[in-house]
């Protein structure tokens, strides 16, 4: 058994002599990095695969539009929500999408502050993923209000004709502020990161339309040293602001539950456990997207095995935190000697929705343990499958939290069951279509990897001064 395995041929191991594993394959120059990434947008022919993918996603967007139109005509009665399960799919999907967004901010802000240079080739599309996920998330609470055209005065403090103001003691209002701030800051962060690359596209575009559009978006960026200095300061400050923000967002989302007195929700572990879960699901989604994208666009030199490995490790760690959360929930339910809490825990494991709980444990706790093995972390296809499983698991987690807690609360006379309808599914699948359609447009029209940051990680970018 002790026979040693042959050394794994590992692209991570070292550019000769330096001892640091490469985050970019050797042999690239400022010019070739620029050309390779900008060619995807500017010169490469739009592939048939892109058209098929985009049209399929766009078709699903139309399912979403149909579901929303019917919802606005008939009202939320078309969904499976009822008394006592008033939250249903809308809130499950909201929490799932917003959680997915968190990995983008983590990669772009927190890893920047921690000087993790490997983030460079994945931050751009992870940030785009954040934006699109937040866009999908924002749909749900809005349509869950039932009359979204009236939601403005429930949610936003503005002087309306009725003299009514929002209730600032409610976590639901905190959520409005947290999510809208998060969406705005994510957009700013992403756009600021894009400015120098938009200038590159402006200068390299062959068509007049391209030059005009990219030129307007680049706002006349010319790479002046004084500009770069302020730019870097602004970018770092934004990262510093986005870091506590991203932690606050899922904390506030967890307050939506934890501040309520419903057994299974009213617990202090929710904020950290929600934040860890968000990062967990977000990294799963980044892997789900990065693995096919790097294969299809031939970007293995930029998104190397080191990136996949590191993301797998982040998933493993956050997955363990989430598993700890599940364990503590069950432990505290018993240790608190609160019979309602205990009942909810047992009901989750053995009640009518027992299979969702055990499927969740299978997806979120057991499957990711495979990531302990180096061979698993270095095999993209296996990593991709694990990421999909985790995506499903994290969706199930929100389903378990929302539905099992609500369907059995204090009074047996108010117990009920929840089943999603075809319209619930259409809306959920529709947002996945929206997410993918936006992603396809992004891949086609904007550089999916930050070109200027890739230049900075080339060895020749280092200035050596002899003083």
């Amino acid at each position: 058994m002790a026979e040693s395995l042959p050394p794994i041929e590992d692209p991570l191991d070292a550019v000769a002599g330096t001892g640091t594993p490469p985050v970019i394959a050797p042999g690239y120059t400022f010019g070739s990095v620029t050309d390779k990434i900008s060619a995807i947008v500017l010169t490469r022919k739009t592939s048939i695969g892109w058209w098929l993918g985009f049209l399929a996603a766009f078709g699903i967007v139309n399912v979403l539009l149909l579901a929303l139109a019917y919802l606005f005509v008939k009202g939320t009665g078309i969904w499976g929500v009822n008394q006592p399960v008033g939250w249903g799919f809308a809130i499950v999907n909201f929490v799932w999408w917003i959680g997915i967004g968190h990995a983008g901010t983590l990669i772009s802000a927190i890893l920047l502050l921690l000087k993790q240079t490997w983030r460079t080739s994945i931050n751009r599309f992870a940030e785009a993923m954040t934006l699109f996920a937040v866009a999908c998330a924002a749909i749900f609470p809005l349509i869950h209000t039932g009359r979204p055209w009236l939601a403005a005065y429930w949610l936003f403090p503005y002087p309306n004709t009725m003299g009514i103001w929002p209730q600032f003691r409610s976590p639901l209002i905190w959520d409005v502020f947290a999510v809208s701030t998060y969406a705005t800051v994510s957009l700013l962060f992403w756009f600021v990161g894009l400015i120098p690359d938009l200038a590159t596209l402006r200068d390299r575009s062959q068509s007049r339309v391209g030059r005009v559009i990219y030129g307007m978006l680049a706002m006349g960026w010319r790479g002046s040293a004084h500009h770069w200095h302020r730019y870097e300061t602004a970018y770092l400050l934004l990262a510093g602001l986005a870091t506590p923000l991203v932690v606050s967002v899922h904390t506030v989302v967890s307050f939506d539950f934890a501040v309520a007195i419903v057994p299974g929700w009213h617990t202090t572990i929710f904020p950290p456990y929600f934040v860890a879960g968000a990062i967990y699901s977000g990294f799963a989604m980044v892997l789900t997207l990065a693995i096919p994208i790097r294969a299809i666009y031939g970007l293995e030199d930029f998104i190397t095995m080191r990136h996949l490995q590191n993301m797998a490790k982040v998933m493993l760690v956050t997955g363990l935190i989430v598993a700890y959360g599940y364990a503590i929930e069950a432990f505290v339910a018993w240790y608190s000697a609160d019979k309602y809490e205990l009942f909810v825990s047992l009901n989750r494991m053995t009640g009518p929705y027992w299979w969702t709980y055990w499927l969740l444990i299978l997806c979120n706790v057991l499957t990711p343990q495979a990531l302990w093995f180096r061979r698993v972390r270095t095999t993209p296809i296996v990593l991709f499958m694990i990421a999909i499983v985790v995506n499903i698991g994290m969706w199930l987690e929100r389903f378990v939290i929302v539905v099992t807690s609500l369907h059995r609360d204090f009074l047996p006379s108010s117990w009920g069951m929840y089943a999603p309808t075809i319209w619930d599914w259409a809306t959920y699948v529709g947002t996945i279509g929206l997410f993918l359609a936006l992603l396809f447009l992004f891949l086609r029209f904007l550089p999916m990897i930050s070109i200027f940051e890739m230049r900075t990680i080339l060895p020749e970018a280092k200035v050596e001064e002899s003083s």
């Binding site: 400022f30 010019g31 620029t34 403090p157 003299g163 009514i164 103001w165 929002p166 209730q167 600032f168 003691r169 976590p171 209002i173 905190w174 502020f177 947290a178 701030t181 705005t184 800051v185 700013l188 962060f189 600021v192 120098p196 200038a199 590159t200 402006r202 200068d203 390299r204 030129g215 706002m219 006349g220 960026w221 010319r222 790479g223 002046s224 040293a225 004084h226 500009h227 770069w228 200095h229 302020r230 730019y231 300061t233 602004a234 400050l237 934004l238 602001l241 506590p244 923000l245 606050s248 506030v252 307050f255 200027f452 230049r455 900075t456 970018a461 280092k462 200035v463 050596e464 001064e465």
Partner: protein, 178 residues
Amino acid sequence: MAKPPIYGLLAEFDDPNSLVAATRRAHAEGFRCMDAYSPFPIEELHDALGGHHTRLPLIVLIGGLTGCVGGYALQYWVSAMAYPLNVGGKPLHSWPAFVPVTFECAILVAALSAVLGMLALNGLPMPYHPVFNVPRFALASRNRFFLCIEASDPKFELESTRRFLETLSPREVATVAD
């Protein structure tokens, strides 16, 4: 004084090291009205140009404090003055419940100040700038490094400045039309 017919002289370099070295030489030579252009941020350049600290952090701090105070004031005014509502017997000024929104407002205004402040201090958007008149300047966003000594510099004199730039071994020196 009549507008100078040219904006300045633009020297093109192959790599960041030559640009930083050239900028230091030009600064030592006494040139002050100049700018360096590169396809990615180079920390040393700012220093070589004799740049000052940016006021941006102060702007962001002021923005953050404004958001913080404004967010809290909004909630206080709404909950205690404009629309007093008894919720579960809590006091009208129930400050712990106001913390999350105050925090979010502070971050929001600080982030907006960072981006708008950066753009404003950089004078962007600026659709036209003379350096774009040099066709090769399009490479400043790809793989070339430029130093521009501007005609507004008191020491600028077309022929002698060109000769000086030639001594820095650039790829070429171009005249920038204004």
